[in-house]
Structures are given as structure tokens and as C-alpha cells.
């Protein structure tokens, strides 16, 4: 299994530790703003996900969650700190469907890239459309899909990449409560069948409590880890389980605290 290291500083013993999982250690990242000033997005963030773990990341809007995922997927490099991760697939916040391909072709993109012949790739992707409630829309162009349908196609594309690590950026944000619940169950089952390491960014704390093994709460910009909540709740979980509800409350409190701290700073 290839675990790769990415760093601005000296090498570290992280890769071995990452083995199939994710290690983010003391990572900071700032953007250059429109007037050339530094816009710090992440400050000294450390997050670990062991192999097969699902770690949820919650935090106020603009705190650097998307930045964190792009760092793990090596679309950006950290200004300082180390990151190690097995090959990771990213489901971006905006669906990024390619307008020149139809829905199946978009979903099957990873298979095409991996070298599968076109018809086989389409077949495999098409078979899953029914399960995601997209039956009949295989040949629709992205512009002919609703927002939630687009998101599900993008989700499917990410899953079909077959990568060991999945970075999901608000994967169900455009779905109604019922469809979202179905998709969460579907994901949980899929991960049970074929365990993968998942870094899940979500703004729905309930979703985090339902799916995660661990919750990482980030403060407002620049994002710092303000809390890490373990979710030792047996599966399958339901939104009405007491443990889930309790975790949700704890997470909300941490989130509110970190948001307030930010407000105090501002």
C-alpha cells in the first residue's frame, strides 16, 4: 500500500503511522488575499484517522474544512506541518460534474481513468444509479439534474474511485432529510462491506454523530482543533438513540463555544 508523505519541513516518521489512514500534524495554511495580505485558514491543526475509521470534521463556515481536505488530497501543500495519507479521493463541496458527459459517464469517470473500457465502466456505474434513487437519469446531462441529484452523482463518482481514503466535503448538503437519511445508511452499509478511511466534512452535527467514529471540532477562522469527541456508539445507529442525541448535543456545544470564542476575538 502506497502511503505518501508531504511536507515543507524535515522528514518525519509519519508515513508508517498513517498506514492506510490519515495523519495531519501541526499543519498551518494561509492563503494570499486579494490585496496580497495573508489570510490564515488553518492554524496548527492535527487530525488522525486510523485505517477504516470515519472521522467527521465540523466547524464554522470559512474555518478551513475544505482547505483541510484539499491538503489531505495533496491539492495544496501546507505552509508548515506534516501530512501523510494513503491515496485519497475527494468529493468537493461543489459537485464539479463535467458538463460534456452524461450522468453515468461522470459517475464512471474514475473507472475510465483507471483504464476500464468505456462500456464496462458505464455498466458498473449505471448499476448503482437505482440504489441512489437516480434510476432513469443515467443519460441525463448534469444541467438536466436537480441539485441533489447532481450531488449524488458526484458522490457515486467518488466512491467508484476505489481509493482507500475518502475525503467527503458536505456530501449530502443538498439533500432533503429523507433522502439524506437513506444516503447515510447506504454509506454506512457500504463502509461495512468494504471498510475505508473517511474524512467527512459536514455542517450537520446529527449526521456527524450518526456516522463518525470520532468528531473533530474546529474553531472559527483560522481553524484550530477545539475538541475531539469519541463516538463509541454501537452500529447501526439511529438519530433517536440516546447516545447519538447526547453526542450531537456535545458537538453542538463545542461548536457554539468555538464560534463564540471567535466572536470574542473579533
Amino acid at each position: 500500500m502506497a502511503t505518501e508523505l508531504q511536507s515543507r519541513a524535515q522528514p518525519s516518521p509519519l508515513p508508517a503511522a498513517a498506514a492506510g489512514g490519515i495523519v495531519v500534524e501541526n499543519v498551518s495554511r494561509a492563503y494570499r488575499g486579494s490585496r496580497g495580505e495573508a489570510v490564515p485558514a488553518l492554524a496548527d491543526v492535527s487530525v488522525r484517522a486510523a485505517r477504516g475509521e470515519l472521522v467527521a470534521v465540523v466547524g464554522p463556515s470559512g474555518c478551513g474544512k475544505t482547505t483541510l481536505l484539499e491538503l489531505v488530497c495533496r491539492l495544496q501543500s501546507p505552509d508548515s506541518g506534516w501530512i501523510a495519507s494513503a491515496p485519497a479521493a475527494l468529493m468537493a463541496q461543489r459537485d464539479m460534474l463535467l458538463p460534456w458527459f452524461d450522468a453515468v459517464e461522470n459517475a464512471a469517470l474514475a473507472l475510465r481513468i483507471a483504464g476500464h473500457p468505456r462500456s464496462r465502466a458505464r455498466e458498473r456505474a449505471s448499476a448503482l444509479f437505482g440504489e441512489l434513487g437516480l434510476e432513469g437519469f443515467q443519460r441525463a446531462r448534469p444541467s438536466e439534474l436537480s441539485g441533489g441529484m447532481r450531488q449524488r452523482v458526484a458522490f457515486l463518482r467518488t466512491l467508484l474511485s476505489g481509493k482507500e481514503v475518502l475525503c467527503l466535503d458536505e456530501p449530502f448538503g443538498a439533500l432533503d432529510a429523507i433522502t439524506r437519511g437513506e444516503m447515510q445508511q447506504w454509506l454506512a452499509r457500504a463502509l461495512q462491506r468494504e471498510p475505508r478511511t473517511v474524512l467527512l466534512v459536514t455542517h450537520d452535527v446529527e449526521e456527524a454523530a450518526l456516522l463518525a467514529d470520532r468528531l473533530v471540532v474546529l474553531s472559527g477562522r483560522p481553524g484550530r482543533v477545539t475538541a475531539e469527541l469519541e463516538a463509541d456508539i454501537p452500529r447501526p445507529r439511529s438519530a433517536t438513540d440516546a447516545a447519538v442525541l447526547a453526542l450531537r448535543q456535545r458537538a453542538l456545544r463545542s461548536l457554539a463555544l468555538s464560534a463564540r470564542a471567535e466572536g470574542a476575538l473579533a
Binding site: 491539492l75 479521493a89 475527494l90 464539479m96 463535467l98 460534456w100 469517470l109 475510465r112 481513468i113 474511485s161
Partner: protein, 263 residues
């Protein structure tokens, strides 16, 4: 359908008629010499009288345009892809391609004839030289303008450079490339004229370009205008046939507004 088409052809036809009318009036009123500006009616007469000759001369010109533009599109496109994929090529070849556009055909024509003689080859070379450039520029610009977010996506899916090109950059650049092809196709017609003017020909039906030049030196101005009119119409036909082909080449770019909104 047919009615709709007829309705579409109406405005340009009307405008053309108006322009021709104004031109006729101007010639009559100003008494301009027919050798500087023949009246439309005498051009029309020349067109009618020489229909066979003009048609015969259109054939070789059309063949030159067809072969030349095909080669130019391929060259322009391949160069664009090369320039896009290789920064080295971009820096080395692109400036030379730009400069090549400023070299008068008259300067290199003797060389082309020296190399390839009196046949169609030097003419095609001229057309290619003139026409590859718009395709090159628009395609390079189109490729550079593709969405960086899409490229990020492809990187996370481990797409190779070539796959990123094929799945994202190429389709995104196609509309721009088609713009370039449109320009190239249109100027291919004048390119054929220049090619015929500047390189040697054996006789027979030497092409419309040669015919125009011969008519101009022989002071057969109305016939030269008639031949120019044939080129004019031919260019329009080429241009609009590409517009048709485009819907098939890049349907996602085929002007969504014409499909969309309320449909």
C-alpha cells in the same frame, strides 16, 4: 421548418439587395469608371455569361480550400495541444508560429515552387500557413482557460496529464477551437486566392484566384468581380456548414440559450 429557413434567409438577402441597389445607384450617379467599380448589373451579366468558366475555376479552388483547411486544422490543433502540454514547446514554438504569420507569401513563394513545383502542394502549403494560426491561438487560449476546479478533481482521481487533457481541457476548449476553425475556414478561401496568385500554375482551369488576376490585368473587371462574388458566396457556404457541424461536435456548447429557458 422550410418557412422558418426562408424567413432566416430574408434579412441578409434584403440587406444584400439594398446594398446592391445603392451600389448600382452610386455607379450610375457618380459615373465611376466600370474598371474601377463595375455596376452590379454588369457583374451579374458577367456572372451569367461566364457561369461555366467560373464553375470550372471554382472546382480547383474548392479542392485547395478543402485539402488546405483540413491540413491547417490538424496542424493548428496538434500544435496547440503540443504547446499546451509542453511549456518548452510553448516557449520555443509559439513565438515562431506568431512570427510566421508576418512573413509575406511573396517572399517564400519562389522557394515553395522550387521545392514542390507547379502542382497543388505549394498552394496547400500557403493555405496551411495562413489558416493554422487562428486555430492555434484560440485552441491554446481555450485550453488554458479550462476550470482549475475540474483539473483538481481529475488530479484526485489520479488522471494522467493526458487524461486530464482528454476529459477536461479538451472538451472545455472545443468551443474556442471551433471559433478558430470558423475563422480559418473563412480565410482559407482568400488563402486559396493568395496561394494561386503567388505560386505558379499550369493552365486549364487554374482556379478562381488566377482567373481574377488574369481578369484584372486584362481589364475584364466585371468578370473579376463576378469571380470575387463566387468566392464571397463560397466563404459564406463554408462558414455556415461548419456551424452545422458544430452542433454535432460540441453539443454541450451549442448555444444553450437556443435550447434552453422555458423549453
Amino acid at each position: 421548418m422550410i418557412r422558418a429557413r426562408a424567413a432566416r434567409a430574408l434579412p441578409p438577402t434584403l440587406l444584400l439587395c439594398a446594398l446592391l441597389g445603392a451600389w448600382e445607384l452610386y455607379v450610375q450617379a457618380s459615373q465611376t469608371s466600370a474598371f474601377v467599380l463595375p455596376a452590379p448589373h454588369s457583374v451579374a451579366a458577367a456572372l451569367w455569361d461566364n457561369a461555366g468558366l467560373l464553375a470550372g475555376n471554382l472546382a480547383p479552388t474548392a479542392i485547395e480550400v478543402g485539402l488546405g483547411i483540413a491540413a491547417a486544422l490538424v496542424l493548428g490543433f496538434v500544435l496547440a495541444v503540443g504547446v499546451h502540454l509542453s511549456p518548452l514547446l510553448r516557449r520555443a514554438v509559439y513565438p515562431l508560429a506568431v512570427g510566421s504569420q508576418a512573413v509575406p507569401i511573396a517572399v517564400i513563394a519562389p522557394l515553395l515552387v522550387f521545392w514542390w513545383g507547379f502542382g497543388i502542394v505549394p498552394k496547400l502549403a500557403v493555405i496551411v500557413l495562413i489558416c493554422f494560426f487562428p486555430v492555434l491561438v484560440t485552441t491554446v487560449d481555450g485550453l488554458m482557460a479550462s476550470d482549475p476546479e475540474q483539473l483538481k478533481l481529475l488530479r484526485t482521481l489520479d488522471a494522467s496529464r493526458w487524461q486530464a487533457f482528454r476529459f477536461a481541457e479538451l472538451p472545455a476548449a472545443l468551443p474556442a477551437a471551433i471559433s478558430g476553425a470558423r475563422i480559418a475556414l473563412t480565410i482559407a478561401v482568400i488563402g486559396a486566392y493568395i496561394a494561386e496568385s503567388q505560386t505558379a500554375t499550369t493552365s486549364g482551369h487554374p482556379g478562381l484566384g488566377r482567373e481574377i488576376n488574369a481578369d484584372l490585368t486584362a481589364l475584364q473587371t466585371p468578370r473579376a468581380y463576378a469571380a470575387a462574388f463566387v468566392l464571397f458566396a463560397f466563404a459564406i457556404a463554408c462558414f455556415y456548414s461548419l456551424a452545422l457541424a458544430e452542433r454535432w461536435l460540441a453539443p454541450w456548447a451549442a448555444h444553450p440559450r437556443e435550447r434552453g429557458a422555458g423549453a
